[in-house]
Amino acid sequence: MINQTRETAGALMADALVQLKGIEKHFSGKIALDRAELALRRGEILGLVGDNGAGKSTMLKIISGVLKKDAGEILMEGQAVRINSPVHSRGLGIEMVYQDLSLCGSLNVWENIFLGRYQTRSFFKMPSPVLDKRKMIKMTVETMASLGIRRLDANAPVRNLSGGEQQAVAICRCLLFHPRVILLDEPTASMALKERQKVLELVRGLKERGRSIIMVTHNLEELFQVADRAAVFKEGRAIWQGPLRGLKPDDVARMMFVGKA
């Protein structure tokens, strides 16, 4: 299986949509990523698993531009890209749902969803900084409905929502702008079983519509439900990457904790 890593990595070069090579990241002397590799193919769901502190979130944050890598490179469709801020990654069609959701509790649902890229009105065909609230509320309600959430007041402060509802808002926010690459950092963490299934269905639906997705999860059952391939992180490195077909959750668990197959 270790061999397979090398094989798949080689084969991936050709059709990887996003590829990370030799990524290093230090936090004040402590190493969080140690020459980590990762490749995401077009139209797949890649599951990212690993112990707490293995570097999964750090890896995604480097792709989304929140953190700057110390070394390594990021390729998109084979071209080296520079991602120095969240604005860059958004420009490349990359969206991320953060593990902490990154919502503003005192802002309401639509304000959170459109944060940083508001719909504004134009007057006499001139653009203006004036918000088009009606449009944003309408889009919010529609997108939330597509997630199966219909009873939510778009004007309610996010602080007053349940954990699952907040998670839905964060997911809704990443879908609205039709990204090509979606990074989900434990998107179902605080959801009840039913909501969780809904999100997993949604993730599969996104894949069907051609989106490419990296999803971090601690739930191996969930991993096998949605992911096509997986990458196992341990101590800042991807120790295994490959298709899940033919594997059992136990195999993955063994790699996570023992460090080999």
């Binding site: 989304s64 929140v66 801020s85 969240p86 604005v87 958004r90 991320m96 953060y98 902490d100 959701l101 990154s102 919502l103 503003c104 509790g105 005192s106 802002l107 304000e111 459109f114 944060l115 940083g116 890229r117 508001y118 504004t120 900084p129 004036v130 918000l131 609230k133 402060p157 996010v158 602080r159 007053n160 907040q166 926010r173």
Partner: protein
């Protein structure tokens, strides 16, 4: 919401009405049209600076330099007028200088990453000292008479200063509720990291907030100077306490993320009415400071309770 907020707003309103009734009962001079316009004029300055401070506090910041900015910008305006600048040019220069002082604050906060408390406290000392040094601690008298219109003139039945304050309130409310900047500034106050991740230019937002606060303080300085027809280096002394009290009383949270200009308006009117009423019933003005100090601490306590009531993300 906002049950607590509605309750707080209602409480303030009742407090204001009760205060008016009390003062009317105590003195025949309180409940007159003339005194009513007096209150508006007295509150106008506080409303104008309060609007700027509301924006700052909404970003979870603070501006302790507004009183000093008010003084120094007034001095700059007065000096320019004395030197023969036209009325419009002098006023514009005064406001611009306030904006520049705010810019310096904003760069200290956003660029150097020093806490707003430290930056604006230091700046308060520096701006005040510059005002004193520049004037040798002597007031600048004898400004052009047409300046007085800004302080004591009236438009129809309303004092000009109150009209200016109203315009500022309107502009600030629209800014907060209807523009990109308005959402951005609340987001920065609520969760700067989250705002950054969503592409909000957090440093730029912070800098602009302090610029606006400085400009508002300078505009208030124009009104003060016009009213007295004198610019003084000690103008606006202690104004930050009143302004911050008005803002927090009005429901804008110290924790950032919320901004209520209408609340600030109400808070400023309460403080203005209190000052006016106490003067009319011959209570020495230092008691006003005592009351304002107490009210301020109560408002901060209410703010804490409000935040604990809702589950924090």
């Amino acid at each position: 919401m906002k049950r607590f907020e509605r309750l707080q707003r209602l409480g303030l309103f009742i407090f204001l009405v009760a205060m008016c009734l009390f003062f009317s009962f105590m003195s025949p001079y309180f409940a007159t049209w003339e005194n009513f316009t007096n209150i508006l004029v007295q509150s106008a300055v506080l409303i104008i600076v309060g609007a700027g401070v509301t924006l700052v506090i909404a970003t979870a910041g603070i501006d302790l330099s507004i009183g000093s900015i008010l003084a120094l910008s007034s001095i700059i305006m007065a000096a320019a007028l004395k030197a023969g600048a036209g009325l419009f040019a002098g006023v514009a220069l005064g406001i611009l200088s306030g904006a520049v002082m705010g810019l310096v604050n904003g760069l200290g906060v956003a660029g150097l990453g020093i806490s707003p408390f430290i930056v604006t406290l230091g700046a308060a000392g520096i701006y005040r000292a510059l005002a004193l040094i520049f004037t040798d601690a002597r007031p600048i008298y004898g400004l052009p008479l047409d300046l007085r219109f800004w302080g004591t003139g009236s438009l129809g039945p309303f004092p000009v200063s109150a009209v200016i304050a109203f315009a500022v309130v309107l502009a600030a409310s629209l800014l907060i509720a209807w523009t990109r900047f308005g959402v951005n500034l609340r987001a920065v106050g609520d969760n700067p990291q989250g705002a950054f991740r969503m592409g909000v230019p957090i440093r730029r937002v912070l800098v602009w907030v302090y610029v606006l606060s400085g400009a508002a303080a300078a505009l208030a300085g124009v009104v003060v100077t016009a009213r007295l027809n004198t610019a003084e280096a000690i103008a606006g002394l202690g104004m930050e306490l009143e302004a911050i009290a008005a803002v927090v009383m009005g429901g804008t949270s110290f924790f950032g993320g919320e901004a209520s200009i209408s609340g600030t308006l109400l808070g400023a009117l309460i403080i203005g009415t209190l000052a006016n009423g106490l003067t009319i019933i011959n209570v020495p003005s230092y008691y006003q400071q005592l009351v304002i100090g107490i009210v301020f601490i109560l408002a901060v306590l209410a703010d804490r309770i409000k935040r604990r009531e809702s589950n924090i993300i």
